[in-house]
Symmetry: none
Subunit: 440 residues, 2 copies
């Protein structure tokens, strides 16, 4: 049982990565999950599809780490040679996993596609390795001892890799390294405050003690990571993080929308389900992105009635009942049209909540009065329709993403605000339904 | 003068990367620029802010590469120790660059901020190293010989790093390695064929000669990379790639939708604009994703009228005019309802082309007859409304993405097919408007 935390090396195989054609997004995800399981990453490596370079990277990494997580190079094509490199380093040959082969044959039969000889290679593994099932794709992974390290080989396709990491690798690591060193991580997700505003509020709270604070920005939300390294055991670390998370929530109020890997759309979907509310959207400049984000959540069909993407003025008039004269008088990007769109969406989609987004995503279409990045968001709920004007900075797709997420957040705050008002009890923080609320 | 192309290792220093809080986006950018300058990347590495681990990574990389590009760890804080690690490996001490110190002092004076002792550290470099100016930030970089390799140290801040790479590093490398080998890359994008099907068709065409073939999957499209390494000069490499790209297009027909970094949505938007066609969408299981993808394209508002996201049956009936009896008889996920939705979208949004997507994204809602992953896509254009039944494999968000992209592709093929039929001239390949068209 090691006294220090277990150490991992994360190795990506693929010329598409070392030539910079795709980013190595798997490495960051794997390291976050490993850290949450108490395993620290000491090395990220990416190498091209070259037998000697892969073998060398595996050997060098095994000399520094207890655990190797290797992704990529398990596909059906000739340049997928991770299996061969692992077998060569271990001094063994390749063998076929009959269960994996049978599964691949079934998938091809179900899809009605011809199975080629090269697809059979995906059922191979170094002799003596143990297969790791892949429920989402054709290539299974495998695990084996390699130069003294526990090595796990996974496909490079992110969603397949992530599912296998969660279902097979992390449980195996937790079983093996439990009690090695207590590193625990807690993540809270916050919307509507910048990283530096959050740092300004939280840093003084964590100046003393053994909780480290770190931030990451993802989809316009700020992820707050609390890491506890000093505790003697897991339970003690968890208790300290519980207390730390409570301090963060109390300081940031309603800006904190979830803990762990729960996105804003999932937090909103849960809230809608909990309050038994249905929602209908009207989107202009975001082109359906807010609805598509919400539609990612499994089971959201109970709450999501639908949306009208009213990109043209005609669609705003015909499908949402926005008065033509209002558009002529105020412009399609205006507070007034946003309010009418939100009410129109609620009516047209027979929903409890209506939300509207209209703005200028750019790169063209801006004027001095209405510049690129200007967005109006309106939420119709109960007797009230609220509206906010926001300004975002960045290119078209960035403005669209920020506007879509801000709209989902406006709905979340409108529901929270509405029910708090109804109860007459406002909490000291986060009552402002603004996504730019300042913490005092 | 090396006969092979020069080899590079790209090393990122920072615990924020190895813990997965931020992605290592610098590595991909650096490798793309290096390749364009004729230098091949054989290794990406990221290490935490740990003196021994940084030193070891530098030593291991120098043993494999002619050039090291090292980013990060040059800031003013105590965990910025890349300078120390480089000096230790070279067996030298640190010295202050007086010009860099003067520049840092001036920046602080201009900002009216006090300069702290730790800011002085940013003017240090290993003795004997040569400074690399940084016009956009406080920390200069430096270059030195390290274990036989040419090592360049740059800040981790992407825009500072990129400017220094362009202005100082690439010119230095081109001067040093000019004539080492001309490397040119061409990318073609293909939809509707799997990576292994494409490999099966193309591999025999490129078995001889100096063009390498590689694939990457992004957003369900397959990117085909053609790399020419053997040519004596750039112009010759480009001419060989022109010829190779023509061979690929002739083998894969209409499945190739673009060259270079042009996504399917951009290819479709260009086609719509070129043919002066407007489009309206009806989305069920994809929740607006197809429309949102199309809305990412700047200037698409000329063509995109809007969409109805008809998540509920009521919305299909009220907003798209789908007969209630049809839904009752055939089910919301059916060929018949898809056809009615496409025609309803065209009518409701007053567009030239109507496209509809209805399916079962999962994880629940599947039956033996209509399993999760079943999707119907219909396209109404001119006198014809076409429909296709597709089956996708994977989890909810994956099914949604594949279905949305397949719908955009169906529209692209319907437009191409329509105009070819009108002319009476069918090309031998790719006429089937199917996103799974087989190459003969």
């Amino acid at each position: 049982m090691p006294q220090r935390a277990a150490r991992a090396a994360v190795i990506a195989v693929g010329t598409e990565i070392t030539e910079g054609r795709i980013p190595n997004s798997n490495a960051a995800l794997i390291s976050r999950r490993l850290l949450a399981a108490g395993v620290e990453t000491v090395l990220h490596v990416a190498v091209p599809d070259d037998l000697a370079l892969i073998e060398r990277a595996l050997r060098d990494a095994a000399a520094q780490a207890d655990v190797l997580i290797v992704t990529g190079g398990l596909g059906p094509t000739l340049d997928d040679i991770t299996r061969e490199a692992a077998a060569r380093l271990a001094g063994v040959g390749l063998e076929t996993d009959p269960a994996a082969l049978e599964r691949i044959e079934k998938i091809f039969a179900a899809l009605g596609r011809p199975m080629r000889e090269n697809n059979r290679r995906q059922a191979e593994r170094p002799a003596g390795a143990e297969s790791i099932p892949n429920d989402l794709g054709t290539a299974p992974g495998f695990r084996m001892k390699l130069a003294g390290a526990d090595a796990f080989f996974l496909p490079g396709v992110p969603h397949e890799m992530e599912a296998m990491l969660e279902r097979s690798v992390l449980p195996a690591l937790e079983a093996r390294f439990l009690g090695g060193g207590a590193v625990e991580v807690r993540r809270l997700n916050c919307f509507g405050l910048s990283e530096s505003e959050i740092d300004h509020v939280l840093a003084p709270l964590f100046r003393e003690g053994d909780i480290e604070l770190a931030f990451n920005i993802d989809d316009a939300a700020v992820q707050i990571y609390l890491t506890c390294r000093g505790a003697p055991a897991r339970e003690a670390a968890r208790a300290r993080l519980d207390e730390a998370a409570a301090r963060v929530r109390s300081a940031l109020g309603a800006s904190v929308f979830s803990e762990g890997p729960v996105g804003l759309e999932e937090a909103l979907a849960s809230l809608l389900r909990e309050r038994r509310l249905t929602i209908g959207l009207a989107e202009s400049c975001t082109g359906g992105l807010a609805t598509a984000r919400l539609a990612r959540v499994p089971g959201v069909s109970e709450a999501l009635r639908g949306a009208v993407v009213a990109y043209s003025n005609e669609a705003k008039i015909r499908l949402l009942g926005v008065p033509e004269a209002l558009i002529a008088a105020c412009g399609a990007v205006s507070r007034e049209v946003a309010l009418a769109m939100a009410e129109g969406a609620r009516r047209a989609l027979a929903a409890d909540v209506g939300v509207a987004i209209t703005g200028i995503a750019g790169p063209t279409g801006g004027t001095p009065e209405k510049p690129v990045g200007l967005v109006h968001i309106a939420v119709a709920l109960g007797e009230t329709t609220r509206e906010r004007e926001l300004r975002f900075f960045g290119e078209r797709t960035r403005v669209q993403l920020l506007a879509a997420m801000a709209a989902l957040e406006q709905v979340r705050r409108a529901i929270l605000f509405d029910s708090r008002s109804a109860k007459g009890g406002l909490s000291p923080c986060g009552d402002d339904p603004s996504p730019r609320a300042r913490v005092p």
